[in-house]
């Protein structure tokens, strides 16, 4: 099975700090990458996705991610977090046959 690695499962930071969540994927075929977010008590929703083109992808709520093929990475960033960014973040890659492989998630807590 394909694997997606996310580091630092628990992240605690203060408001206005910068956030970067690492994601490494393994699939060697056509690359389709996603970041999903799950806010407390809410359903999982798409934050951003990369299929092709510009490797810097901008998503909702000021998030962006950079696809670096040579490093098999798709790191998520936000320059200045808010308390409302407290959530669990999942990186995922499509690896064919209708399948997405998800990472184990990053639990992010932003302290006001």
């Amino acid at each position: 099975a394909q694997s997606v690695s996310q580091h630092n499962h628990h992240v605690i930071l203060s408001e206005a700090a910068s956030l970067e969540l690492g994601c490494n994927y393994s699939y060697g075929g056509t690359v389709n990458l996603f970041w999903y977010v799950q806010y407390p008590g809410q359903h999982l929703q798409l934050l951003l996705k990369y299929f092709s083109g510009d490797p810097l992808v901008k998503g909702i709520k000021g998030f962006e991610a950079e696809f670096i093929k040579s490093k098999f990475s798709f790191n998520l960033r936000k320059p200045s977090v808010q308390w409302s960014d407290t959530a669990e973040y999942f990186c995922a890659e499509y690896y064919g046959n209708n399948r997405l492989a998800f990472g184990k998630g990053n639990q992010v807590v932003v302290i006001p």
Binding site: Y36, H43, L44, N98, R99, L100, K104
Partner: protein, 113 residues
């Protein structure tokens, strides 16, 4: 907006019971998926379906079965619930190939006693 609904938010069952989890989507999506979400393990695919009456095993199908009799509805069945099936179950749907965005339901938190 795509809406994916799940029949229950919380469910408590006893070991050995047969459990049905229902999922309905309203956007005519071909693909539907069942995942389980456990702390520290992320989302793991149980089964998915790419058309009515069609299904494929995911990464952890043991102890589960599925049914898709209508395009909008995808059911997950635990034939004989066990305590290690206590988990959050998420349903998702997508249009066409799975590289399309998957839309998730609110989840069913199942406790098996």
């Amino acid at each position: 907006d795509v809406k994916v609904t799940q029949s229950s938010r919380y469910l408590v069952k006893r070991t050995g019971e047969k459990v049905f989890l229902e999922c309905v989507q309203d956007m005519d999506h071909e693909n539907m998926f069942w995942y389980r979400q456990d702390p520290g393990l992320g989302l793991r695919l149980i089964y998915f379906s790419y058309d009515v009456k069609m299904k494929e095993k995911g990464d952890i199908p043991e102890g589960y079965s599925v049914s898709r009799e209508k395009k909008e509805r995808f059911s997950l069945i635990l034939e004989s619930a066990s305590t290690n099936q206590t988990s959050m179950y998420l349903c998702a749907s997508s249009l066409g190939e799975a590289q399309e965005t998957q839309y998730f339901g609110p989840g069913t938190r199942l406790l098996v006693l």
